[in-house]
């Protein structure tokens, strides 16, 4: 597309054309109205004067007869810039006046008419237009009185010329202005297009230029930039996940394959084969669990799980998870206790339960106190506390243990997918527990906070509490699930 072609296709330019047309129409109708009214006014003036003169001359004729008439008309016809006069005999022969020739048939009809004429007293012999009135005198004589229309024509010419010029100026200014505005807009759009093309080519870090005027284009650019920001974050997340999947899923897959290969190569007893197969199944179950956890995280992060949201109390979740894990903790030589006060939530109960379960499992797995240097009594050190409470407009669901904890520098890192801190490498687990808990918290507009329990770890799901207004405001966000 040529630059000009692009220019005239812009919305600004098209709008300019539409306005130009509308204004031209308006100006033309204004001038037409003006012209028409002037013409009417002039015509009225002429008829009035001609009528007055006609009745005056008629009176002269009635009083002084044909001779008096001829005399008066002869006199008047000689005045400079005079009206038109003509007297004809019944046989059509002109008897007096200043009219040299007329359009044919004018004298045949009485009343008003417009005609071309030549004056007797003018040398140029040019033809003019005139408005004339023909009256029948007694015994077949006819009298014509008229007035030249030159004035009216001139006026018309002025109006027409004015219309031409003003239209011309309007079109030039309009199109010029349109091009000016369009080019300004087009330059900005071109800049945006350039950036988007770079982004489409793969450079996700590109951002649209945002001006300072805060107009609609700036707002659009701002929004697009925010969208790009989100897309970039998601893409990076995705890339990270696929890298991690490649690494952390390939390892167990390789192990699985090696084991099967080894069993196949070695001629063993049926019991050996059976054991190898059992280990294979165990390994694949672990893989499936990892996949499920990854899918769950992806789903929570993409916000798809917003479907099954309802109202419940975090205290019930805490009590339920405590009830489920209490025997397991006890078998591991830990004590699991719960402190739960009313903490109303609106959310996906299943996901929040699972997030809390992950935190509790982590505490049981990794929260065993180091044997030496225990500032707490050994019994207190082996205690894991689940707590649910409301703090202002937040609900806190926390799990506290008195194990080695996580050094502050590692905490942010620990939440990432597949990250298993050095200390925990030897214990079984997928490294997804904290990421899932974090994804669930994010889905509910909250976050997962890791803190220090002096000693130990306190992992807290910080979630927005349910309140009447919040609930009312949120309801439209919750899509109705239809089976």
């Amino acid at each position: 597309m040529t630059a000009f072609g692009k220019l005239i296709r812009t919305t600004a330019f098209r709008l300019t054309l539409v306005y130009l047309f509308l204004f031209a129409l308006f100006a033309a109708s204004l001038l037409a109205f003006f012209a028409w009214n002037t013409r009417r006014l002039i015509t009225e003036q002429i008829t009035t004067t001609v009528n007055a003169e006609s009745s005056e001359i008629n009176e002269i004729y009635l009083r002084r007869g044909l001779r008096g008439l001829a005399f008066t008309v002869g006199n008047r016809a000689l005045r400079p810039g005079a009206n038109l006069y003509l007297i004809t005999a019944p046989n059509g022969v002109a008897l007096g006046g200043n009219v040299g020739s007329l359009s044919p048939g004018v004298m045949a009809t009485t009343g008003w008419s417009e005609t071309s004429y030549r004056r007797l007293d003018e040398n140029d012999n040019a033809e003019h237009r005139a408005l004339v009135k023909v009256t029948e005198l007694s015994n077949g004589f006819r009298l014509l009185i008229g007035r030249d229309l030159e004035e009216r024509r001139r006026l018309f010419g002025i109006v027409a010329k004015g219309a031409q010029w003003s239209l011309l100026v309007m079109v030039v200014l309009g199109i010029g202005g349109g091009i000016f505005v369009s080019r300004r807009v087009l330059r900005r759009i071109d800049a945006m297009t350039g950036t988007t093309q770079r982004i489409m080519a793969g450079d996700l870090s590109g951002r649209l230029p945002v001006g300072r005027s805060g107009d609609e284009l700036d707002r659009l650019a701002g929004n697009l930039n925010a969208m790009l920001e989100r897309i970039e974050a998601l893409m990076n997340g995705l890339k990270e996940v696929s890298d991690n999947i490649a690494h952390d899923l390939k390892t167990p897959l390789t192990r699985l394959r090696n084991r099967a290969e080894e069993a196949l190569a070695r001629s063993g007893s049926e019991a050996d084969y059976r054991a190898a197969l059992e280990r294979t199944i165990e390994e694949s179950d672990g893989l499936i669990r990892t996949f499920n956890a990854l899918l769950m995280i992806a789903r929570a992060e993409s916000g798809q799980a917003r479907g099954n949201m309802d109202d419940f109390d975090a205290a019930d979740v805490a009590n339920g998870i405590h009830e489920l894990y209490e025997p397991l903790a006890e078998d591991d030589g830990m004590t699991l206790t719960v402190k739960a006060a009313g903490a109303p939530l609106h959310g996906n109960r299943e996901l929040i339960s699972q997030a809390l379960a992950n935190l509790v499992e982590n505490a049981i797995k990794y929260g065993k106190p180091a044997a030496a240097a225990q500032p707490l009594g050994i019994k207190a050190a082996r205690e894991i506390v689940i707590e649910a409470r409301r703090e202002g407009d937040q609900v806190l669901l926390s799990v506290t243990d008195h194990g080695p904890g996580i050094p502050e520098a590692d905490r942010k890192h620990a939440i990432e997918r597949f990250v298993r801190l050095e200390a925990s490498r030897t214990l079984p687990g997928s490294g997804l527990g904290l990421s899932l808990a974090n994804a669930v918290a994010t889905l509910h507009g909250g976050e997962l906070r890791l803190g220090d329990a002096h000693p130990g770890l306190v992992a807290t799901l910080v979630l927005p509490a349910r309140s009447g207004e919040r609930l009312a405001a949120q309801t439209p966000d919750v899509p109705q699930k239809v089976a």
């Binding site: 694949s284 179950d285 669990r289 899918l295 798809q304 489920l324 299943e350 499992e361 797995k365 089976a483």
Partner: protein, 245 residues
């Protein structure tokens, strides 16, 4: 449908339950053949349909105890098959198999008229246990108030549990766990079935939480008695039954 348990058959293989007629609707030929073969090996009769239309026609005409339906099928998807069947008044229990394992999908499947939902990949032991429980529900008698297995009795109204002449004290959750096991006495119940039905959680714990609860229950109902009633079925789950009768 429910007859006396056959005391001779062993725990899982072949199934201790009377043979069932199953319809498997699954378009992946390999998994379908595997399922048919596996069900036949444990003594059930299994028919196969490979698309939704065929599945609907067969399910509608045949007298099946349980339908095992894949969610994504050619010609007519699993949920629509179930919908059409239910509209005709056919109440055969349906277990939905699906690669979509998320909570929302599960709920969608159950709302559409499915009776149970099992995400892929699954173990056959899990599928078998669930299908057998469904089948019993289908033709079973009205729910009894007192469950009896050997000399163990559970009264669902008074919440009393008696073994022999001894009254046992159970925690509320232990009671519900035992109630669920006894309701399906003689059938294998898997860990996930217990987590779903007793605790109402649908996630997969990374630890052996259920085993710990079972061992606590076991210490209450079996400890000090000659005949254990609560059995661990290796690779599958648990079963309560009176082994020697």
């Amino acid at each position: 449908m429910v007859t006396e348990l056959n005391p001779v058959t062993s725990a899982v293989n072949p199934s201790p339950n009377p043979s069932m007629r199953l319809l498997i609707v699954e378009d992946d030929r390999e998994s379908a053949d595997y399922l048919v073969k596996a069900f036949r090996e444990v003594g059930h009769i299994a028919d196969l349909a490979t698309d939704g239309e065929e599945g609907l026609a067969l399910a509608d005409s045949g007298d099946y105890d349980v339908l095992v339906v894949d969610r994504m099928l050619p010609k007519r998807d699993g949920l629509s098959l179930i919908g059409a069947l239910r509209e005709k008044g056919n109440r055969t229990p349906v277990l939905i198999l699906s690669a979509l394992g998320q909570v929302d999908d599960r709920i969608k499947g159950l709302r559409a008229g499915g009776d149970d939902y099992l995400p892929k990949p699954y173990s056959f032991a899990e599928l078998l246990a669930r299908v057998e429980v469904l089948s019993r529900r289908h033709g079973g008698p009205a729910e009894e108030t007192v469950y009896k297995v050997g000399d163990l009795e559970l009264d669902r109204l008074s919440h009393r549990v008696v073994r022999g002449k001894e009254e046992l004290t159970l925690q509320p959750r232990e009671f519900r766990l035992l109630e669920y096991l006894m309701k399906h006495a003689g059938q294998v119940v898997t860990r996930t079935m217990l987590l779903e039905n007793v605790w109402d959680y649908h996630f997969d714990p990374q630890t052996n939480v259920i085993d710990v609860h079972i061992s606590r229950l076991r210490s209450k109902i079996d400890k000090g008695f000659d005949r254990p009633l609560l059995h661990t079925i290796r690779g599958a789950g648990y079963m309560i039954r009176d082994g020697i009768r």
